[in-house]
């Protein structure tokens, strides 16, 4: 059993959620709710490269609903 995310030759997309978080995703799989495509289908390396270029602020964007300490 090999994890499909590790398939070096597989087809992937990059997803993004409203926190600005990115996710590598299998091109063939359904896109989970709350995520949208940030980078269309591409090779694995290209997708990761895309994330490295575009996800520059890794802090989750704090929404108004987050409780304050």
């Amino acid at each position: 059993m090999s994890n499909p995310f590790d398939d070096q030759g597989g087809a992937f997309v990059v997803l993004i959620n409203d926190q600005g978080q990115h996710s590598l995703w299998l091109a063939a799989a359904e896109i989970p709710a709350g995520w949208s495509i940030a980078c269309e289908q591409n090779g694995r390396e290209a997708c990761i490269e895309y994330v490295n270029r575009n996800w520059t602020d890794m802090r989750p964007r704090t929404g108004a609903d987050i409780q304050r300490a």
Binding site: M1, S2, N3, P4, F5, G10, V14, L15, N17, D18, Q19, Q21, H22, S23, L24, W25, L26, A28, A29, E30, I31, P32, A33, G34, W35, C47, I48, E49, V51, N52, N54, W55, T56, M58, R59, P60, T62, I66, Q67, R68, A69
Partner: protein, 1454 residues
């Protein structure tokens, strides 16, 4: 057999029948080989006419009259002229449940073992269930029947019955004779087509893919049959047919594709091989002969999650067409071609059988419905699909090995298969990986119910909660470290000052403060201060290499690094420092307020999303990566843990884990949140089990956390009084085996909790307090890791990201509050590992752990090991964790590790490492036996290493890289040299092997020596000790002490010894008057570790009640026992082991009094009633003087002890090699062997002297028997030969060379168990004492017959003249430098071929053997074939055909 008259025709078996013959011989006795069904006839039947119809079929179909006989060269079939059987008519119509009554009779009949020689092979019965309902039961053994034949017979019975019922003669039958089958087979096997088919299959399976299984446990095949049936609904079948029509595929094709897709989904095996039974009757003529013709062909499918069902269906169609064109090439042949037979490997153990037979049977117009009852036992799993065309849908049977599958397993598989079939017909274009296998309820259970962990977490911070404890318990002790104690108030005040200072330096939310401090109370102050400042702490182990720390500082860019003066010098200045203890720092701290920092003090308000800590973990690329965990996640974890495993003010919690690991987090925060005492263990305590125990006792620790490796080491040392203070133990960081759980829970009075969580989650994500009931559920090799913590979800997903069913292995994913934020400054890596969660709230993520797990039925998780630790050896996918857990279940093992090592190129093997339990000394044999109970052969390590402790990494986990190579571990205890010669040899051995030291009992090959090294060592011995040293002697005498003795003795003389000087029996050896018992209570046995000796021991234990005192050459009793057990184990005789009846006496045959000490000598002389002297030094290359002590002097000693002390008999095992070629024949048991001048080897010379001495004792009237042995070969049960015997070395060489010398030599092979039984029975009968016996069989094998036997194994062997043979052998020797070959050639060179051996008579022996019921039967070719298989001859040949280095390789593997 009466019915067989002389006119019966004897026929060979077809290959298919031969396959079945051997399958039955080698399978479990409970295995079923019967094909059976009953045909339900919906109408009245006239039983007399029905029987007449059966009898008519009996006349027409030869196969139902076939019987088998076993001849010397294998089985034959003959066709009885008439069918000699009865057909019972059983009336069950008055039974409450007629069908059940009938079926129970049928099941009993078909599961009864069938003897191939006596049958019955074909059985029919007619049941009357009701006046208008009859069941015709018919079953045939698979050796005379296949599925196709069953249909042929059933249709013909229906035809004939119908004709009879209508009062007419049936049409003439068209069944062909069996002879046609044999003809067809011969034609096929010599055809071009056969060669082409063979080439096709060999090419397709050249890489020998491994068979897969749906079963999660691997056990032995237990025979029997478990069948589970499900029906595909009529609607589903309708949809299937529509799909078939639309796609142009056939229904069988779609079903094969669907079932294969299911196998893929459950196993994840992407290179899937399934077996497809085929009729293998390509010609019309073949289709008219009922018999066993069926074959199985392998389908090899490449499946991936993204593949659509449609493309799989097309692929199946293509492959089935290809396979059917080559369906006559037999699977047995393919296995042999691929060399899978010696290791009993298969290409597949799972088969799919689609049976769309047209079964519209009518009996005199009455409809009939067939019901299949048995297709025989399944190796693993066979899926049968029946489409009887009755419109009721498809019936799907799972026929399974009951040892592997429960009824519940099968039912679960079937329901999911049906769901998958339905999904495929709904949308054949859908990716296979995306199909949901679970029903709504199960899907909900695994995704939602078992993850229902929602809890409201209060709006607060960790710092605030600790400050609340400070307010409540200001004076109570918060932290201790050695002599330092801090109260809550003091801790808080110091942390506050530092926090204010950090804030002043820019620390705050979303900033990082690094800490590099030794373990101390100050460390806790710093961590708390960072928390209070709102920054994330980055703990760095000051012991890390400076450049690693430098890398981390440069990567994380902390606002400051808190450290001490001593440490501050080491890392380069990459971050601003705060040096504790520095006057400047002290001064600054003194100026800070000691009040709790508030949000308004911080540089920014603190939110739950802000980072709480940053921990580096090693990356697969070698670059460490930092995990960032949020404040909210940490708080969630702490609140969960306080609720799940509450601690109180009375608790003292051990902080043991290095703070650079995430698991240290709760050790520090939980006690401070709970008002407990945090006890920081000094560095020297944390990894030393004994110091740890002392620390726990002195400090009164109540709660502690261990990595399982350390827990095991600690549990070994701990006494009951040591831990009375401990109440709770957490284990985490590694898989916890149930064996360790047992040890800890039984010895300690603690609650043991298993924790699981990767660094990428918040410390832990699942936990499981140990429950007693978990010990007995059968799957407990690892303790469960339990259920998810608060606000956390865990998923077990397959490659298509679908949740797997309960009990099926998949990869573990984690979602929810337990998730880390990601990797610091590594967006790409974060996006790879933290991926969108399809099952969680919109926009949420899940972390893929890379760990494998499965759900237990109760909703707890089982950890199965790292996905990337899986190794592949010989094509088998292996989880080392599974072997480790099995090893740890051995009572003598506390800890185990298994790794695949490649210490030499091309030699990848499994090595097991074990730490013994106190008072245990597990040896490899025991461990192998233990593992063999639950694991298949390929999962049993090739070598074992016993270690005092397993090497640990700084975090306390197993350090796999630090495990030693097995070769460097001497198997025996070190014994220093005693003489100058031994000293020299020890040094040379050590030098050749590259070891620090070698003891005198060490074996060159056990220490990793192989033939190249042996030659090197031999040369060194020539240079250093003796110029004429025979280099091959290292090969034959690999133990230092033996080699020293050899050198000492061989130095003495050369040339022919005068044996006549040594045959004088001292006069004091004479018989006493006392009666000797033939029911001995105690027997002394020498040579019990030898080949014949171990069989003697086993037979003595079985056939007598005596205690057996075994003489074993070893340094001490323990090594002796190991040797003895290994000897038995090697021959699969371990079952005889009886602790109470075996006594072990260590000694050495070559020493005075056989090397026995005084006590042992007294025991043999005064307490034994019989002596079996089977031990001898059998080194063929040694000269007489080297062998005399062991082979002559020992006989004198034992004759002395026979004549003196307690009255006893002596049974001396001699050899036919004592018969000199110059002795005139025939030589009977009574011939006086006076000639010895023609004996050439030291061995036969020394045995002749021993034999002669024993004969003199007989002549004096002593109760002494002499048993002269021929070639003793493998036992009849397991066919395990003594590979090192000359005969097998020769056979091996012949096989390698492909030629055999044409010598006029008879080989008289005698199976070891026959020989042992003969000796023990003769020895147990007083009337047989005092004689010589020739233990040979009456039908020796001529050397010229050997090529024919090779041919049957598919091996070529050519008969050539001795000269030609020697020439070929010499040429090979020049190329390979094969020492074994050299040794054999030197022996053959001494052989005088001009003179043949005298004829040997054994009439006297045969009479006596008949009297004691212990005949020595001839070795038939069938047994010989098994010998060859157990010696792996076919492999030898294929190796020899490979280029050059083969010998080296083999000796290394061996």
């Amino acid at each position: 057999m009466d019915a067989i008259n002389n006119s019966s025709q004897l026929l060979p078996l077809t290959t298919a029948q031969t396959g079945m013959w051997f399958a039955q011989k080698f399978s479990s006795p409970d295995s079923i080989f019967n094909l059976a069904e009953f045909i339900e006839i919906h109408g009245p039947i006239d039983p007399a006419l029905f029987e007449a119809a059966l009898r008519q079929v009996g006349i027409e179909a030869e196969t139902v009259r076939v019987r088998f006989i076993e001849q010397s060269d294998g089985p034959r079939q003959l066709i009885a002229p008439i069918l000699d059987t009865t057909f019972p008519l059983i009336d069950v119509s008055s039974e409450p449940d007629p069908r059940a009554a009938a079926e129970s009779w049928m099941m009993a009949e078909l599961t009864r073992p069938v003897d191939l020689l006596t049958g019955p092979l074909w059985v029919c019965a007619l049941f009357k269930a009701a006046p208008e309902q009859y069941f015709w039961y018919h079953r045939g053994h698979h050796i005379v029947m296949d599925g196709f034949s069953g249909g042929l017979l059933a249709r013909r019975v229906a035809e004939i019955y119908t004709a009879f019922a209508e009062g007419r003669c049936p049409d003439e039958g068209t069944f062909g004779p069996l002879e046609f089958l044999l003809e067809e087979e011969t034609t096929y096997r010599s055809s071009e087509r056969f060669a082409r088919d063979r080439h096709y299959w060999l090419t397709r399976f050249a890489d020998r893919p491994a068979a897969f299984s749906l079963a999660d446990q691997r056990r032995q095949n237990v025979g029997g049959l478990r069948r589970q049936t499900i029906h595909l609904s009529a609607e589903s079948v309708e949809a299937l047919r529509a799909t078939a029509q639309a796609s142009g595929a056939s229904l069988p094709q779609i079903m094969i594709a669907a079932i294969s897709a299911y196998f893929y989904r459950v196993t994840g095996v992407e290179d899937l091989v399934v077996g497809l039974p085929v009729a293998a009757r390509p010609k019309g003529r073949l289709r008219r002969i009922p018999s066993m013709v069926a074959n199985a062909v392998p389908l090899r499918l490449a499946i991936s999650p993204g593949m659509s069902a449609m493309s799989l269906i097309r692929e199946v169609g293509r492959q089935v067409r290809e396979a059917l064109r080559r369906q006559c090439y037999r699977y047995e042949d393919l296995r042999r071609d691929l060399n899978l037979l010696p290791t009993n490997q298969h290409l597949f153990t799972t088969v799919i059988n689609i049976e769309p037979f047209d079964y519209d049977l009518r009996f005199a117009g009455h409809r009939a419905t067939p019901h299949n009852l048995s297709n025989g036992s399944a190796d693993d799993l066979a899926v049968f699909v029946y489409d009887r065309g009755d419109g009721k849908g498809l019936r799907i049977d799972f026929d399974a090995n009951p040892g592997l599958y429960s009824a519940k397993d099968l039912a679960g598989h079937q329901q999911r298969l049906v769901r998958l079939v339905d999904a495929i017909v709904r949308d054949p274009g859908r990716p296979i990986g995306a199909i949901n296998l679970l029903d709504a309820a199960e899907r909900r259970r695994v995704l939602v119910e078992w993850n229902d962990t929602a809890r409201t977490v209060p709006r607060t911070t960790l710092a605030a909660l600790i400050e609340a404890q400070v307010a409540r318990r200001g004076d109570a002790t918060a932290v201790t470290y050695e002599d330092t104690t801090l109260s809550y108030a003091a801790l808080n005040a110091r942390a506050n000052r530092l926090a204010h200072l950090l804030i002043a330096q820019g620390a705050g939310p979303e900033q990082i403060v690094a800490v590099a401090l030794p373990r101390s109370a100050e460390l806790v102050v710093c961590l708390l201060a960072i928390l209070k400042s709102g920054a994330a702490y980055l703990p760095l182990d000051p012991d890390y290499p400076a450049d690693r720390i430098a890398f981390m500082l440069a990567d994380a860019k902390p606002v400051c690094l808190i450290t001490t003066n001593a440490i501050a010098q080491r890392p380069p200045e990459t971050a601003p420092r705060l040096v504790l203890g520095h006057p400047y720092t002290a001064d600054m701290l003194a100026r800070q307020p000691d009040s709790n920092p508030r949000n308004q003090d911080r540089i920014a308000p603190l939110t739950p999303l802000d980072s709480a800590y940053v921990i580096y973990t090693s990356g697969s690329t070698g670059t460490p990566k930092a995990v960032v965990v949020s404040q909210g996640g940490l708080l969630n974890h702490m609140l969960w843990m306080m609720s799940a495993y509450p601690m109180g003010e009375q608790d003292r919690v051990l902080a043991r884990t290095s703070v650079s690991f995430d698991a240290a987090g709760w050790e520090i925060w939980l006690p401070l949140l709970s008002g407990s005492v945090l006890s920081v263990a000094p560095a020297d305590v944390t990894r030393d089990p004994q110091r740890l125990i002392d620390y726990i006792r002195h400090q009164g620790i109540t709660v502690a956390q261990f990595v399982p490796s350390l827990l095991a080491a600690t549990s070994e040392l701990i006494g009951p009084a040591d831990t009375h203070c401990l109440r709770q133990v957490f284990a985490g960081g590694e898989a916890l085996t149930s064996g360790l759980v047992r040890t800890v829970t039984s010895a300690w009075n603690v609650q043991l909790v298993n924790l699981y969580g990767p660094t990428e989650t918040t410390i832990q994500v699942t936990s499981s307090p140990w429950q007693q009931t978990w010990q007995h559920n059968g799957d407990g090799q690892f303790a469960p890791i339990g259920r998810p913590i608060w606000n956390t979800q865990v998923y077990v997903l397959d490659d298509g990201l679908q949740p797997v069913p309960v009990g099926v292995a998949g990869e573990l994913y984690v979602a929810g509050s337990g998730l880390a934020r990601g990797y610091l400054n590594r967006p790409g890596l974060t996006a790879e590992r933290f991926v969108a969660d399809p099952f969680g709230p919109p926009g949420s993520r899940m972390y893929r752990t890379g760990d494998r797990a499965r759900w237990r039925p109760d909703g707890a998780l089982h950890f199965l090991g790292r996905a990337d630790h899986q190794v592949k050896i010989r094509g088998f996918r292996i989880e080392p964790g599974e072997i480790e857990a099995a090893l740890a279940q051995h009572e003598g093992v506390v800890q185990a590790a298994v790794v695949a090592r490649q210490d030499r190129v091309g030699d990848k093997r499994l090595v097991g490492y074990v730490v013994p339990a106190a008072g245990h000394a597990p040896d490899p044999t025991m461990l192998r036996l233990h593992l063999a109970r639950t694991l298949p052969d390929y999962m049993i390590p090739a070598a074992f290493v016993v270690l005092d402790t397993l090497p640990l990494t700084p975090s306390g986990k197993l350090d796999r890289n630090a495990l030693p190579a097995p070769d460097q571990q001497p198997a025996t205890a070190y014994t220093p040299p005693r003489t100058a010669r031994e000293e020299k040899l020890c040094a040379l051995f050590a030098e050749a092997l590259g070891l620090a030291r070698v003891g005198i009992h060490d074996n060159f090959f056990d220490l990793g020596g192989h033939s190249l090294l042996a030659i090197r060592l031999g040369r060194r011995i020539r240079n250093e000790i003796r110029p004429d040293f025979p280099i091959t002697a290292v090969y034959t005498t690999p133990i230092v002490s033996d080699l020293a003795a050899l050198l000492d003795f061989d130095g003495a003389s050369d040339g022919a010894p005068d044996l006549s000087r040594d045959i004088l029996l001292p006069p004091h050896i004479k018989p006493s008057r006392a009666r000797v018992t033939d029911k001995p209570e105690r027997i002394f046995l020498t040579g019990a570790t030898g080949f014949v000796g171990s069989h003697l021991l086993s037979t003595l234990l079985q056939e007598t009640d005596a205690h057996i005192a075994c003489h074993v050459r070893a340094a001490d009793r323990r090594s002796a026992e190991i040797r003895l057990r290994q000897a038995l184990d090697k021959r699969k005789l371990s079952a005889c082991w009886d602790e109470r009846r075996i006594e072990i006496l260590t000694g050495n045959l070559a020493q005075p009094a056989l090397g026995l000490d005084e006590k042992a000598t007294r025991m043999v002389r005064e307490e034994c009633d019989a002596i079996y002297h089977c031990g001898a030094n059998v080194e063929f290359l040694h000269n007489y003087s080297a062998l005399k002590p062991a082979n002559v002097d020992s006989v004198l000693t034992l004759l002395d002890w026979t004549a003196n002390g307690r009255p006893k008999s002596l049974h001396y095992v001699s050899t036919l090699a004592v018969i000199d070629k110059h002795q005139s024949g025939p030589v009977s048991e009574h011939t006086d062997l006076t000639s010895w001048q023609g004996l050439v080897s030291g061995y036969s010379q020394s045995k002749w002297v021993g034999d002669t001495l024993a004969r003199q004792a007989q002549a004096r009237g002593l109760p002494v028997s002499i048993y002269r042995l021929s070639s003793v070969t493998g036992d009849r049960v397991n066919a395990i030969c003594n590979e090192t015997d000359l005969i097998w070395r020769l056979v091996r060489l012949y096989a390698e060379l492909g030629v055999i010398p044409d010598l006029d030599v008879l080989v008289n092979m005698t199976p070891a168990d026959d020989v042992a039984r003969a000796i023990v029975r003769l020895a147990g009968r007083e009337a047989s004492w005092g004689s010589v016996y020739h233990l040979i069989n009456s039908e020796p094998l001529h050397v010229r017959e050997v090529p024919r036997i090779f041919d049957r194994l598919g091996l070529r062997l050519e008969l050539v003249s001795l000269d030609r043979w020697t020439e070929i052998a010499q040429r090979r020797l020049a190329k390979t430098h094969d020492d074994d070959l050299a040794a054999v050639l030197s022996i053959l060179a001494q052989e005088d071929t001009s003179r043949s051996h005298p004829e040997i008579a054994s009439d006297f022996t045969q009479q006596h053997l008949a009297a004691v019921g212990a005949p020595i039967a001839p070795v038939r070719p069938a047994l010989l074939e098994r010998y060859f298989a157990s010696l792996r001859l076919p492999e030898v040949v294929s190796d020899a055909l490979a280029p050059a280095t083969s010998n080296e390789q083999r000796s290394v593997d061996g």
